[in-house]
Symmetry: C2
Subunit: 230 residues, 2 copies
DNA sequence: CTTTAAAAGATAGTGTTACTATTATTTAAA
DNA sequence: TTTAAATAATAGTAACACTATCTTTTAAAG
């Protein structure tokens, strides 16, 4: 049985749909590899074109510029992750168990998903950790947001927020806690590997400790006894 | 009484010390203004030179490139904030009160500090929210880290970590919680203003709600009853 | 099997960015 | 008053971020 997973992307993310052609798929595949290798700053359409064996102009027919390409791959990642979440939490009743599963999915290295041949999810995960926030930390956020380019991220955040509310219906900050979980899963990973003294996992470099930390944080808050102290 | 606050910066951050000359101070002042106006991506040494009334080559005598300049102003900010923390928590005994004060300092807009004439801290605070993480989210982190360029950030993180331990000596993740507080104070602010659906403060756009959220999160964790549930 | 259109490839060109180098002028200390 | 340091002025280069145009290939439609 061979199943190919297709994620429908917002059309504003590209000029020509990359999944519709060989060249398009090569662009995605190689841009992930190149960005992973040398980082987004050093990544250029020229290098990408050389890696693929096409020309700069060829890439520009698919993506307006490299920032839009980054937007595309991050949006793809969040969509894919939402699918992963749906898949792995399916049939789980207890919202606490669900939420733990989600934290684990967020904070743990992913394996390459065979259902998407032109994308290496484990590389992508690494990229999102380092480059993901650059997709929105720009002056064009609001503009990009109006084009709904962050919808996958927001959908995932909303979904996690709802599960948080299932755990504790009167919790006041489901969305903020949700975005905190997402961001911290990545930031703590980046810090652990690059600025270890900002974390408590610098020695072990063990992702499961990030899971423990986030679980501790989240469930302390959600299991908190009704207002007495403070 | 007029007191000027001087922060000693790591010499690797610059080629020529900007606080030692008028031109240098202008570079800092105007770069903060320009980055605040149009963002770090759009910021160039040419524009900066024009704004100051000098030449590109003039700027290059002070800073190797614009990334180093960003490193400089972020490092300056964290040093200044550590001083603020020391100042505002001085004479406070209760570590919980201290920690609350720190959360408030991190998450709340700062007023311009008159003791530093060439720097507008309120603009700087805005810059750090949007551009701060770009200082370390690069391929050069480890290299920059070896030059101790992140020391101010790490010092602040360690300081907060110690106060966390004062609150709860057996807490397992003081450093991770500390970096989480710092990052979330900024990220939730960015989200609140730019991608409000990722937070629960999109309506009010009230910074004090960020303070409440972070306090809730932190003190749930620190007041957590000794292992029983979960 | 041929026409036609779309996609891709090849090539060239432009303005901007990120620098480096050189020389002249100002300023400020010896 | 000399001298050195800092600054200003100017020029130049390689890479980057595009845009334009034209030709060839490919693939669908008639």
């Amino acid at each position: 049985m061979e199943i190919q997973l297709q994620i429908k992307m917002n059309e504003k993310l590209f000029l020509r749909d990359p999944v519709q052609s060989e060249l398009g798929k090569k662009i995605i595949l190689h841009s992930i590899q190149l960005i992973h290798q040398s980082g987004f700053e050093a990544f250029t359409f020229k290098k990408l074109a050389e890696a693929i064996g096409t020309t700069e102009a060829g890439i520009y027919r698919y993506f307006e510029n490299k920032h839009r390409l980054l937007m595309y791959i991050t949006a793809w990642y969040w969509s894919w992750l939402e699918y992963q979440v749906a898949f792995h939490t399916h049939n789980i009743q207890d919202p606490v168990v669900k939420l733990k599963k989600i934290i684990q999915l967020l904070a743990t290295a992913v394996e390459d998903d065979v259902a998407t041949s032109h994308i290496d999810e484990s590389l992508l995960h690494q990229i999102i950790i380092t480059e993901g926030s650059k997709a929105y930390l720009t002056r064009k956020v609001s503009e990009d947001n109006k084009d709904h380019l962050f919808k996958p991220y927001k959908d995932l955040c909303a979904k996690i927020g709802n599960i948080i509310l299932e755990c504790k219906p009167d919790y006041q900050y489901p969305k903020s806690l949700s975005s905190t979980i997402i961001e911290m899963a990545h930031f703590q990973n980046f810090f652990m590997n690059n600025l270890p003294s900002l974390t408590d996992f610098g020695r072990s470099k063990d992702e499961s400790e990030i899971v423990n930390f986030i679980e501790n944080l989240v469930f302390s808050s959600l299991n908190r006894p009704a207002k007495t102290e403070e």
